[in-house]
């Protein structure tokens, strides 16, 4: 035990090498960035309930025997949403999709396929979601 204590005290006096300084500075910077970012998002981040905005894009591609529509859901609220169910309607055609998670500030997307001859303006809306 005595020998170990002696060894430890002599090591404390050693100067850091350039490599050690670089490691330390990079590490401190990485930690500070994460901590500052998390603190800032807690203090100044968007609060409030789930707020989902749905947009629909006709990709113009024919696939899987129909026309592909891309559904994008953006959560501009302050709470994440799970199991987000979205209904897409094109005339008489109705499709339903589920996104596992749309985190606060994030967006999620999925494609739905409707018959090529489906007519009418595509419309999408959120039916339900759960809170994590």
């Amino acid at each position: 035990m005595t020998a170990k204590r002696g060894s430890r005290s002599s090591g404390l006096g050693r100067e850091r090498t350039t490599f050690e300084w670089v490691l330390l500075l990079v590490s401190v910077a990485a930690i500070l960035a994460v901590v500052a970012g998390l603190v800032a998002s807690e203090l100044f981040g968007r609060g409030g309930p789930v707020d989902l905005r749905v947009s629909l894009t006709d990709t113009g591609e024919e696939a899987s025997g129909g026309r592909t529509l891309e559904v994008t859901v953006t959560n501009v609220g302050g709470t994440s949403a799970e199991n987000v169910v979205i209904e897409v309607t094109v005339g008489e055609v109705v499709r339903e999709i589920t996104l596992d998670l749309v985190a606060k500030g994030d967006e999620g997307s999925a494609d739905v396929v409707v018959p090529t001859d489906a007519s009418g303006t595509p419309h999408a809306e959120v039916l339900s979601y759960t809170k994590p």
Binding site: G13, A30, E82
Partner: protein, 267 residues
């Protein structure tokens, strides 16, 4: 005697420990989900508690041989590099990207960095300094590859039956799959032949048929690849031999190659 300065080999030992403990969590959907939905305060508390654990681990174990004289500094280095390593791995696996808000990137990276940093802090204890008992009795060449297969099997068996390799393979593009192959070769190479684990000199100097560092790394990856293909087939996830199946094997072969490296480090 004064304490030795930290070297790149020491850091690689910590990285090896971080990857070993972090990769299983990285292949877990719940990590991706909770990193986005858990409150930043909770994640910060987790980081603070982990830092305290890392200081203690750095004092008693650490990523450098011999006890450190600066456990707090080593814990800072371990946590900082773990955050960067976690972010890199998340980018590689496309778990964070352009559609991810900065807050969520930080949340997932910080959550993933927790086990990575623990692994970093116990890097030196991952493999015995002089190799495992009776390891010298294992024949070189074929024996090494057998051990690699065992390591790959143990490590990837936890992941193969789950949804994650299927999900990841479906979402990763060709570039990322290529980078995953590169990472599956480079990381094990550095772990086995660069980091100063026990028996490294013997492994580097060995000149058997499969024993050059590059040859052994490639062969060990091939072994991990075959083990993964067999496991996926066993779980009914390789119905056809096509691009999708290859992507699944490549995705699973990353943790398997880490396991294969661990196996070789232990002998």
């Amino acid at each position: 005697m004064a304490e030795k300065a930290t070297t790149a080999e020491d850091v690689m030992r910590g990285v090896a420990g971080g990857v070993l403990l972090g990769v299983p969590l990285l292949y877990t959907q719940e990590t991706w989900l909770h990193g986005r939905s858990v409150s930043p305060v909770v994640i910060l508390a987790g980081l603070a508690a982990t830092f305290a654990v890392n200081v203690a681990l750095s004092y008693y174990v650490g990523f450098r041989p011999g006890r450190t004289h600066r456990p707090t500094e080593d814990a800072v280095v371990g946590m900082g590099l773990s955050v960067l390593l976690a972010a890199l791995l998340l980018l590689l696996l496309d778990r964070v990207g352009q559609g991810t808000s900065l807050e969520n990137v930080l949340g997932v990276a910080a959550l993933t960095a927790i086990p990575v940093s623990i692994g970093f802090s116990i890097g030196v204890a991952l493999a015995p300094r002089s190799g495992a008992e009776k390891s010298e009795e294992i024949p070189s060449g074929g024996g090494d590859l057998l051990v690699a297969a065992g390591g790959a099997l143990v490590f990837a068996l936890n992941i193969a039956p789950t949804e994650e390799p299927i999900l990841l393979a479906a979402e990763l593009d060709g570039v990322r799959l290529g980078l995953l192959v590169v990472a599956s070769l480079v990381l094990p190479y550095l772990m086995v032949f660069f980091a100063e684990f026990g028996g490294r000199d013997r492994r580097v100097a060995s000149d058997g048929a499969t024993q050059g560092p590059l040859t052994e790394t490639l062969l060990a990856y091939a072994v991990a690849f075959v083990v993964c293909a067999a496991m996926l087939a066993m779980f009914g996830r390789m119905d056809e031999l096509n691009g999708a199946a290859a992507a699944r094997v490549v995705t699973l072969a990353f943790p398997a190659s880490i396991g294969a490296a661990l196996g070789r480090m232990l002998i």
